[in-house]
């Protein structure tokens, strides 16, 4: 994979705001036809990184390449960008807004109206075309904004928290479209702090924490490298064993299940024996793949 030409390539990029470093010495590569997850807690530097990729701000140091070239204003037309903080002109009709943003992306006038219509239909906003933005619900505005990011058929699509605030039906709708775009060979950068979402659609991930990259690679590799050291438990009692740090390093309690991460070096058989000895009634005891959430927490904690 790393042999082919990267769509986006950052080399030792740094961006500072006064004394504060938003991005430090960041190198990464995003390959065509992949969904690349840019992950990290709030303030990790995700948005700043994206802004440099779309040429809104310039890095203080380092080099950014898009489609194998130094970024220029012309290359901006090949990017679709859905920012985290999104907005539309309040008093402008939805159809006109989409057309305006398309013009800013140098979309050819021929057939533009038909394309707008078909996209509006696709996201079920057709009857809202001539309504002003203020008349639309938040979710609908978000879908309208999504159209502005994809209408010009960009080779690189950058989505910053695209699902936040959407209901499950619309999340599925957007996910479907994103996967179609991927199938059509588009490169997608997907920024989020919601690991469950990233886990389901990303091919590659990059973990950022406090301006630095702490991990980059394919989701498969990450999970494999972590091994099966997670447990799904459903039991009554045995609390003293669960709080034993020599066996279990962290617990994540769900409604009726507990997700436990084994302490490195601990034997899962010992844990089972101890639980029985402590008189716990065990209903479920299953080794599972670590969730991206667990990996993220572990990596970020290691980094501190």
């Amino acid at each position: 994979m790393s042999n082919s030409l990267a769509t986006v390539k950052l080399e030792q990029v740094t961006k500072r705001f006064g004394e504060f470093s938003a991005v430090s010495d960041l190198s990464l590569a995003v390959y065509p036809g992949r969904i690349y997850g840019l992950l990290g807690p709030n303030g990790a530097g995700k948005t700043t990184t994206i802004r440099m990729i779309v040429n809104i701000t310039a890095p203080d140091a380092g080099r950014i390449e898009l489609f194998g070239k130094q970024i220029t204003a012309e290359l901006q037309d090949r990017i679709g960008y859905l920012p985290e903080e999104r907005g539309l002109y309040k008093k402008m009709k939805i159809g006109e807004q989409i057309k305006f943003f398309a013009t800013l992306k140098s979309v050819n006038r021929n057939g533009l109206d038909q394309r707008i219509d078909s996209w509006l239909e696709r996201v079920k906003l057709k009857e809202w075309k001539n309504k002003k933005a203020t008349e639309l619900s938040k979710g609908m505005q978000q879908k309208a904004q999504f159209i502005t990011a994809v209408l010009h058929d960009p080779d690189l699509l950058i989505l910053d928290e695209p699902f936040s605030g959407l209901d499950p039906i619309n999340v599925e709708l957007l996910k479907e479209i994103i996967l179609e775009l991927k199938a059509a060979g588009k490169t997608i950068i997907f920024s989020t702090h919601q690991m469950e979402v990233a886990e389901k659609i990303c091919d590659d991930i990059c973990l950022l924490d406090r301006s630095r990259k702490i991990f980059e690679g394919s989701l498969r590799d990450v999970k494999r490298s972590f091994g099966r050291n997670s447990l799904a438990l459903r039991l009554v009692g045995g609390e003293s064993v669960l709080s034993d740090r020599s066996l279990i390093s962290s617990l994540n309690r769900h409604a009726d299940e507990i997700e436990a991460l084994l302490t490195p070096g601990a034997d899962v058989q010992v844990l089972l024996r101890e639980l029985i000895k402590a008189g716990a009634r065990i209903e479920k005891f299953e080794m599972i793949e670590p969730s991206l959430h667990d990996i993220f927490i572990t990596k970020v904690t290691e980094n501190q």
Partner: protein
């Protein structure tokens, strides 16, 4: 270029179609009338009806009372033709008509001493004033018609009402003078014909030394309208720019825009788009004005009210100075808009800019009075004031060409400088969320970007 034009087109089309534009196009001229007439009206307006005035006439046979009574009830305009002379004829008439019904009227009542002392009668009248049966009284000394040193007295509840006070004084003066003349043997008829008020006819002299036709005061109106429309348009459309920039920042549209177009063409597109809206509005106003005056003057047969002649290049000058002022203030507004986070904050920060503009508008008045004075020269060289003051000089007493060109040149350099600074701040400021930018931050952006 296509992107830039798209921004211009969006600004123009969205705004010209808006209700605000239509409302403003209609309301603008009304606002102008309001500005021209209301201050005068308000000042002469006295709520509460006629002034109730008692007069104690101590002159022999109380001859003065009747004369004062008639002087007080006479038509005001007959007595002071110079009242509001600086205002044009039409406005003056309107103010006076309103003034007559509201402030000019007096209800007089004669009070005789009938052997009582002046003190007693005074006390009695004071009590009636306190009981709100009377607004004031005038005491006329017995020797007022003979002794030039003799002084009448006015007692009133509201002596702070200077207009009423001076009206009484003026008319008392008239009454006493006439009565003195009658006592000196001038008969009543001669008196009336001799005391006809004098009117002043005004003729403008142009730069070639030719005197023009009689000026009806329309020259002043013209100057005022021109200055006011520049002032109003810049003020309103500056606010529009501020609102537009803050909206893009507040809704984070700026982020999407910056990912598609450079900040400079974006900013310029916005300013130019809005300027076209303003010019459209001015064109509608101007066109309506020209058609309306032609039509009205033609229909009413008021041939003597000649519209003052304008310099041949007036339209060009107007356009240039309007654009100069507009671009200067619009870029300041854009700068402020990119620094703040909400419209309210923007309004606060824009206060100094508004004050600058208002100050420029008030400078119009001394400039109208003496368009060739050193003051007029210097303020018309300051780019922040030039759009109003220079255009007023051009309309009233066209200055030498070099002054106009110099003023435009200084303005152009300033506009370019401000645009340069604004562009640097705009690029960074538009992406700063959460808090208002501080001055040190802004200075750093200017240095580093």
């Amino acid at each position: 270029m296509r992107k830039f034009l798209a921004v211009v087109k969006r600004e123009y089309v969205q705004r010209v179609r808006s209700r605000m534009f239509v409302a403003l196009t209609i309301l603008g001229p009304l606002l102008l009338i309001l500005f021209a007439v209301v201050p005068g009206l308000l000042f002469s307006l006295k709520a509460g009806g006629a002034t109730r005035l008692a007069i104690i006439d101590q002159t022999p046979e109380a001859k003065l009372y009747e004369r004062l009574k008639s002087a007080l009830s006479e038509d005001e305009s007959a007595q002071h033709p110079d009242f509001a002379a600086s205002v044009n004829a039409n406005t003056r008439e309107r103010i006076e008509r309103a003034g007559d019904s509201l402030s000019g009227s007096f209800v007089t009542e004669r009070v005789d001493l009938n052997g009582r002392s002046l003190d007693d009668v005074g006390k009695e009248l004071n009590r009636r004033i306190a009981a709100d049966e009377l607004d004031g009284y005038v005491v006329l000394p017995a020797d007022i018609l003979q002794n030039p040193e003799s002084m009448p007295a006015y007692y009133g509840r509201n002596v702070g009402d200077v207009i009423t006070r001076s009206q009484i004084q003026e008319r008392l003066n008239l009454a006493v003078n006439r009565q003195r003349l009658v006592l000196a043997g001038v008969d009543e008829q001669r008196l009336n014909s001799l005391s006809q008020p004098v009117e002043l006819e005004t003729y403008p002299v142009n730069e070639k030394g030719e005197s023009g036709e009689r000026d009806s005061g329309a020259g002043f109106v013209m100057v005022f309208i021109v200055g006011f429309s520049i002032y109003l348009t810049i003020l309103l459309y500056g606010q529009v720019i501020l609102g537009a920039v803050v909206e893009e920042k507040e809704t984070r549209i700026a982020e999407i825009l910056f990912s598609s177009i450079n900040s400079f063409p974006l900013m310029m597109g916005k300013i130019i788009g809005v300027s076209l809206v303003a010019l459209t509005q001015l064109a509608i106003w101007g066109g309506t004005f020209v058609i309306a005056t032609k039509f009205l003057l033609g229909a009413s047969g008021m041939q003597d009210v000649n519209v003052p002649h304008l310099p041949p290049l007036f339209a060009v000058y107007f356009l240039l100075f309007f654009l100069l002022g507009y671009f200067l203030y619009a870029s300041l507004y854009a700068l402020i808009g990119s620094m703040v986070t909400t419209t309210q904050e923007g309004g606060q920060l824009a206060m100094p800019v508004v004050l600058l503009l208002v100050f420029g508008f008030y400078l119009a008045f001394p400039v109208i009075r003496s368009p060739s004075s050193p003051l007029a020269f210097w303020v018309s060289m300051v780019p922040f004031f030039a759009p109003i003051t220079m255009i007023i000089r051009i309309v009233s007493q066209t200055p030498p060409l070099w002054e106009i060109v110099l003023s435009l040149f200084i303005g152009l350099v300033t506009v370019l400088g401000v645009l340069f600074l604004t562009a640097r701040i705009y690029r960074v400021g538009m992406l700063m969320y959460g808090k208002r930018a501080t001055i040190p931050e802004v200075l750093r952006w200017i240095r580093h970007s």
